[in-house]
Amino acid sequence: MTSPSIRKHTDNAPVVVPSRLDIIQAITGVLLILFLWAHVFLVSSVIISPALMNGIADFFERTYMAQIGGPLVLLLIVYHFLIAARKMPFRASEFMTFWRNARSLRHKDTWLWVVQVVTAIVILVMASIHIYVVLSTLPITAEQSASRVQGGWLPFFLILLPMAELHLGIGFYRLGVKYGYITRASRHVWQRNEYVLTGIFILIGLLTLVRFMLLTN
């Protein structure tokens, strides 16, 4: 018995946009994760020695990677945000619905999504400011960063740091889930890995800030 499909009533090729956007969201997400990991290691080199940080910064400026890469990262952030924002509950009714559901379910992964939405908006604003400030006061030196952190930017970083790491950690985990790399069997292991990883990066970030606070010229 043939079962004609009720869907195939046009010969239009299927629309690929939603799918490709989903892929782009994933790829930009992964790129930002890689960037931020690299970033943490570059900046935290100050813990070992300010001279090392200066050397690294000098390399990135001399090769113009900072001058060109910086704005590209900002672009990547904005692009990633715009694509991901398709899923954000911007309408009050949507947000209320989601909030009510999350409260009623008491379900961790549902709450994590709320965290991801909130951190995304914070990062968008704060990372833009941060990138602008750093790139408009080149060269990057440990001394300048230290005077910035000591000169009132500390609270700014104390907010941006956990926000960025949380967003990154949750995003990484959810990406694995969505694309079937984190399965039912491995979910618990990955969730733990994610906590550990996020914790380590926040710790390194805090140590970096402490180092900047203690750095004297």
Partner: protein
């Protein structure tokens, strides 16, 4: 024995006098009491107008889904001894309310099944005299694993995406399609599947919140099926752009399970 305080959502949409409210019933807990037994006792001894759905009372028919202390679940498979003595029962959100705890899941599932064309698509002509085609036992089990869904609607009612976006197909539909995806009798191609779920009402609407996975009373492998179908669908949209060897490496195999240990239910 404990005294149970059971708060039940009451509203009859057909009665113009009726206003949505919570009503508290007090019951003596009995050994191995389920919410089915508790609600039946309320209806028989306290309030005969209480509306709720039951049929099999054994977790098979899927009609007794409701929100139990905030989470969707089956009332017939939930024992009161696993709950605190204050129990709050509400109808499943998302579905049309028929009255009190009773919702209409059937209409939604019917339209969802029509949207995903939940039947075997084949050009073979059926010959009633021919011997039945044989299927490998392992594959039959894999298909059955996904076919166990009882259409209770708990996964949809728990899904933040579905609640915000009413056209979202939900995990149960994606799982349902995954069942046809691994069924060799269904001749639909990956392109056909793409056309059905390759948008934000389908598999790309899912945000990976895994509430579906965590509330499903039948432990259907929703997380794994959502992952497999999303990856398959996504790769389908970049065929021709991404080199073939990479596509093949990234592809989930055309098989419902991503992990063989899970077939012990």
């Amino acid at each position: 024995m404990r005294k149970l305080n059971i708060d039940v959502f009451r509203y009859n949409p057909l009665d113009p006098e009726s206003k949505p409210h919570m009503q508290t019933f007090v019951l003596d807990e009995t050994p191995s009491m389920t919410l089915f037994i508790a609600l039946t006792q309320i209806r028989e001894t306290i309030d005969p107008t209480l509306m709720f759905d039951f049929c099999c009372r054994a977790g098979i028919c899927g009609s007794c889904g409701m929100v139990i202390n905030g989470r969707p679940g089956l009332a017939c498979s939930t024992q009161t001894k696993d709950l605190p003595d204050h129990i709050v029962l509400q109808p499943l959100p998302f579905f049309k309310l028929l009255g009190d705890l009773s919702v209409d899941t059937g209409t939604w599932f019917r339209q969802a099944w029509e949207r995903i064309e939940s039947w075997i698509h084949t050009d073979k002509t059926f010959d009633p005299n021919e011997e039945e085609e044989r299927m490998d036992n392992e594959l039959a089990n894999e298909i059955f694993e996904l076919d166990r869904c009882i259409e209770c609607g708990c996964c949809v009612a728990a899904c933040g995406t579905a609640l915000m976006r009413k056209d979202f197909l939900g995990a149960t539909s994606i799982n349902r399609l995954a069942r046809f995806y691994i069924d060799p009798r269904d001749h639909r191609t990956e392109e056909d599947f793409y056309e059905i779920i390759g948008d934000d009402n389908g598999v790309f609407g899912c945000m990976g919140l895994l509430a579906c996975e965590d509330v499903c009373p039948k432990k259907i492998p929703l997380q794994d099926q959502l992952g497999i179908m999303r990856r398959m669908t996504a790769l389908q949209s970049v065929r021709g752009i991404v080199p073939k060897f990479l596509l093949d490496r990234l592809s989930p195999r055309r098989c419902g399970c991503s992990c063989s240990e899970q077939h012990n239910d």
